[in-house]
Amino acid sequence: MSEPFHGTDLLDVDRLLAEDERLVRDSVARWVDERWMPIVKDHFRNGTFPLELATELGAMGLLGTTLVGYGCPGLSSVAYGLAMEELERGDSGLRSFASVQGSLAMYPIHAYADEALKNRYLPKMAKGELVGCFGLTEPDHGSDPGALSTRAVRDGREYVISGEKLWITNGSCADLAIVWAKVDGQGADDIRGFVVEKGTPGFSAYDVDGKLSLRASVTSGLVFDEVRVPEENMFKGVRGLRGPLSCLNQARYGIAWGAVGSAIAVYRAAVDYAKARPQFGRPIAGFQLVQAKLADMINEIVKGQLLVLQLGRLKDAGVSNPVQVSLAKRNNVKMALDCARSSRSILGANGISDEYPVFRHMVNLESVFTYEGTHDIHTLILGRAVTGISAFE
């Protein structure tokens, strides 16, 4: 028997990384192993997120990682991606927390809010002292956010917001919500973004009950009952769907990296298990069907790694586009989900137990498959890009 290959970097993708990029990955990996892995099982069981880690994530530079100024870390997209990969190796809920805070809450403030709001929120959000959420999806509007029905009506120097949001990550634990609502008319062009602070009269949040996925993450509904916010809280810098979609484009980029982390976690679990589990007198890793599953997994992981690395290099060079981000999110999340299902089958009965990370990743990835643009919506975005014909609008 030859010496087995360890790790997941079969194609030595590591060589394409700079020293500081490797150090970022290794430091976040250590943080995840020491601070997150010992507690994730209980949080998943209990359906809770350890909010006390927010300030640690901030101190590590994992909140708003690529943003520049206002106390934000200002790192490259590749370094950020590597960090997201490690966080999601821990759990999709952990990566979701960082994605929502950095890409969906801090990013629009950084890009579209006026100076006063940036100074008020960003430094504390980067430290994890203030937590944000992003309210776009509504009970009746998911894949088609242009049709959203939350309203913001101008009244003197205030806006009065009414409506409901659902499936909002960090919703009930957030200190502030980025809320997308329509002013004036009913069209998608009327969408504007608002910052609504927790405790504003008329604004309440409740937790979604009975989740079987992404349990180590807070998912909520937000209710706006004539909530008055000062006009300064509206983003002046953007209008229409471009606002929320630009945020999602940032978050999807991180998800494409994160999915590789999930895939790595389930692959490692499968290899270790297959080598340690004997049946019919030898380790199940010695059977061809099991080897085929492992070979397929590592094959796809290597491709997924190269895909996001190239995307990251394009992004750092300022020449990436949203279609490429759709491609990466679509490919890598499906890839990770396939790996997780395959890994789960290799673990047999143990595959359904939370003693192993596999089932947790597998059911988490069902959420990741759906949020930030469902797999099918990204298929349609690619379809539109290559044919010039939109099949969904």
């Binding site: 010496e3 360890h6 020293e19 500081d20 490797r22 150090l23 970022v24 430091s27 976040v28 250590r30 943080w31 101190a59 590590m60 530079g61 994992l62 990682t65 870390p73 200002g74 790192l75 370094a79 960090a83």
Partner: protein
């Protein structure tokens, strides 16, 4: 206060080490390298002392150019600058004599080193250095309060600096002892002195801009001909398969009659 800290590049203790078929060397190809874990504790202690007393933390590594990465890791934790002495692998005595030269140049108040490197486990560089310098030494530094304590959470240094002395709690056979050494001194760190911080992402970026001075070993004018030679490497014997016992009675019987430990 100026503190000199050593950081050695060592093979990752979590990976299996492979040996050449003739047993003459360790195969480094494909190996993962990390900072010696005891040295990370030394860096952490130096940073905590710097926070309490001010001054500068200088990181030294001796080895090939690749060891720059381990210096950068210490700089990412917060150390101020680095010195890389470019050389082949040295024995502990040569390491100590290289450090004597650097101490003469840098004039630190304290040298903090790992008690040993996890690759060769020699546990003598710190002692030799103190001997050559004629400085007091406090080896196996530990912490009274323990790693779960509030003091550790508050990142308090374990080594107490007072009136030109360092108070050091040492782990010795059968217990703990506290000694006071006058400064300058050499301190070597044990496992329970502190829990090293994580390098933050901004810290890693800042480290890129910090100075790492490269010193060719030849320029130090010392004879580094090895006094200790590695004669042979061998893998530990592979573990034999265990046996399953039916019940406690059988276990006790086996421990008594076969293992003869009861």
């Amino acid at each position: 206060m100026k503190i000199l800290v050593t950081v050695k590049r060592v093979t990752d203790y979590e990976r299996k080490v492979k040996i050449t078929p003739d047993g003459s060397a360790i195969i480094t190809e494909g190996m993962n390298f990390v900072p010696n874990p005891f040295d990370e504790i030394a860096v952490e202690e130096a940073l905590r002392l710097q926070k309490a007393h001010g001054g500068e933390v200088v990181v030294v590594s001796i080895g090939a150019k690749d060891a720059t990465t381990q210096i950068r890791q210490a700089l990412a934790m917060g150390a101020d600058r680095g010195i890389l002495v470019l050389s082949d692998e040295l024995d502990s005595d040569a390491v100590a004599r290289v450090l004597v030269k650097l101490v003469a140049e840098e004039k630190p108040d304290l040298v903090i080193m790992g008690k040993q490197a996890t690759d060769d486990d020699a546990n003598q560089a710190g002692q030799l250095l103190a001997g050559y310098l004629g400085w007091p030494q406090a080896t196996f530094a530990s912490k009274t309060e323990g790693l779960e304590s509030e003091a550790e959470k508050a990142q308090k240094p374990g080594v107490v600096i007072e009136n030109g002395e360092a108070l050091v709690l040492r782990e010795v056979d059968g217990g703990l002892e506290t000694i006071a050494v006058t400064l300058p001194a050499v301190v070597t760190t044990d496992l329970r002195l502190n829990h090293p911080r994580f390098a933050s992402l901004p810290g890693i970026m800042k480290a890129k801009k910090k100075e790492v001075k490269e010193v060719p070993i030849a320029s130090l004018g010392i004879d580094v001909t090895p006094k200790v030679k590695n004669v042979k490497f061998a893998e530990p014997p592979t573990r034999k398969a265990g046996v399953k016992v039916a019940d406690v009675a059988e276990l006790v019987a086996k421990l008594k009659n076969e293992a003869k430990v009861l």
